[in-house]
């Protein structure tokens, strides 16, 4: 029972898959965070005129990621663009992160009391100075736990990119399962890798959070 044909090479293959998972997560988080900050600030500061933006982003949150991947992949072929599946995955995940990130940033910005901003304005700061030096630092602290949660959930959602043919951690483990026919062992290893990655991110996030609060 304890004999296994799981080899060192298989583990390396899975770790390569894990690297693709990390890469996808990081790239989509960068795209999504940048766009999310812009959209979130716009949503918080100009709530009326950006309502259509909220509707559009709501669509990305209400349609399964799997469908979004397939749809975007098809659209890419229709438009005749020669992009790799990896690019498509990054863009779709980036949009997905943007949709959630916007809400996180918005709630962060709205949590800064208006009186504080009035005070900074009356001390002679300009509108942009107030945004950059007063609102942003305070909003970051409020938004940070939500951002870490988003990071964790995106890392787990990257598992879905296997559907458009990218070999990431779960797909790699499935390939190995197909070959050596020991699903439980291989899947447990894959699960362990995911578990460790999430745990590391969660720990770092929690530590940063407490460190920032020490300065209050």
């Amino acid at each position: 029972m304890f004999e296994t044909s799981f080899s060192w090479g298989d583990l390396q293959y899975m770790l390569q898959g894990a690297w693709v998972t990390i890469l996808l997560t990081v790239i989509s988080m960068i795209i999504g965070t940048l766009a999310g900050v812009v959209c979130g600030m716009a949503r918080a500061l100009l709530p009326r005129s950006t309502i259509p933006l909220a509707w559009v982003l709501d669509v990305f949150r209400s349609v399964p990621l799997l469908i979004q991947f397939v749809l975007f992949n098809a659209l890419k072929s229709i438009a005749g663009l020669d992009w790799s599946a990896f690019t498509v995955a990054c863009i779709v995940l980036g949009l997905y992160v943007t949709a959630y990130g916007t809400e996180i940033v918005r709630s962060g910005v709205l949590s800064v009391p208006l009186n504080l901003r009035r005070a900074s304005r009356s001390l002679g700061l300009s509108y942009w100075q107030d945004l950059r030096q007063i609102v942003m630092p305070m909003a970051t602290r409020v938004a940070f736990p939500g951002w870490v949660n988003l990071l964790l959930s995106v890392m787990k959602d990257t598992a879905l990119v296997m559907w458009i043919g990218i070999v990431e951690l779960l797909r790699a483990s499935q390939t190995i399962v197909t070959r050596i026919q020991e699903p439980l062992l291989v899947l447990c290893i894959a699960g362990l890798i995911y578990y460790v990655m999430s745990l590391v991110i969660a720990r770092i996030g929690a530590r940063l959070e407490t460190r920032w609060q020490e300065n209050d």
Binding site: V63, L66, G80, K156, D157, G191, Y195
Partner: protein, 221 residues
């Protein structure tokens, strides 16, 4: 650049089948949500209790459910259980996977909500002569549900979105499965999946609306 002719008519012919698939999706999501809430409540009370085994069990469940992808959970139920000679069909695997995931996330929400219900409420209920189960059922849980209602509607939408993963383990009668069947037959990927996306959007909105309707009992005071 755009030399592609959209064939919406063929796609709309498939609409009745897709609506049937949408109903399966809706059912699966609703079932997993109901089971998830019940299990999550059990997990929360297990975690609060004194029994170390139950405590450990609940903590393990929650951390595994929250730290691994939901697709992985469905996978291990579908392929992994086969090693023990247990073969379940893909719908059961999907339902069980989503339920495990929902229960883990909801348990965390409920734990936060339970902290927000004052201790004195429970003690007052007990001193009015209610038994412990009565006090929990009539006093604590209604207040708890009220606090966690909005996170719960989020989880409901997630449950709907997660049902789309059934297709990866070979489910073919839910919305994504039906769509994929038509896609394989006709290769009109964009049209079919666009309709599926619209249907998913509608289901998600419908579920949130239904939850709001049902919640009038919670928010009547």
């Amino acid at each position: 650049m755009f030399d592609y002719t959209f064939q919406w008519r063929a796609a709309f012919k498939a609409l009745p089948d897709m609506l049937q698939g949408a109903w399966v999706t809706f059912e699966t999501a609703a079932l997993s949500m109901i089971l998830g809430v019940i299990i999550a409540l059990c997990l929360v009370f297990m975690r609060q209790g004194k029994n170390l085994i139950l405590k450990g069990f609940a903590a393990t469940w929650i951390s595994i459910a929250r730290n691994t992808p939901s697709l992985f959970q469905v996978y291990i139920l579908y392929f992994g259980l086969g090693s023990f000679g247990i073969h379940i069909n893909s719908w059961v695997a999907l339902l069980a996977g989503i339920t495990i995931n929902n229960a883990g996330y909801l348990a965390e929400n409920f734990r936060g909500g339970l902290k927000a219900v004052p201790d004195t409420q429970l003690r007052a209920a007990r001193s009015l002569g209610m038994s412990a189960p009565q006090a929990y059922r009539l006093i604590v849980i209604p207040q708890l549900l009220r606090i966690v209602f909005y996170p719960m509607t989020n989880q409901m939408v997630w449950a709907v979105l997660m049902t789309s993963m059934g297709v990866v383990v070979g489910l073919n009668n839910d919305l994504t499965g039906v769509t994929q069947n038509y896609n394989v037959m006709t290769f009109r990927t964009f049209e079919f999946f666009a309709i599926a996306a619209v249907l998913y959007y509608l289901i998600a909105k419908l579920i949130v609306g239904l939850a709001r309707l049902l919640s009038w009992r919670l928010f009547r005071y």
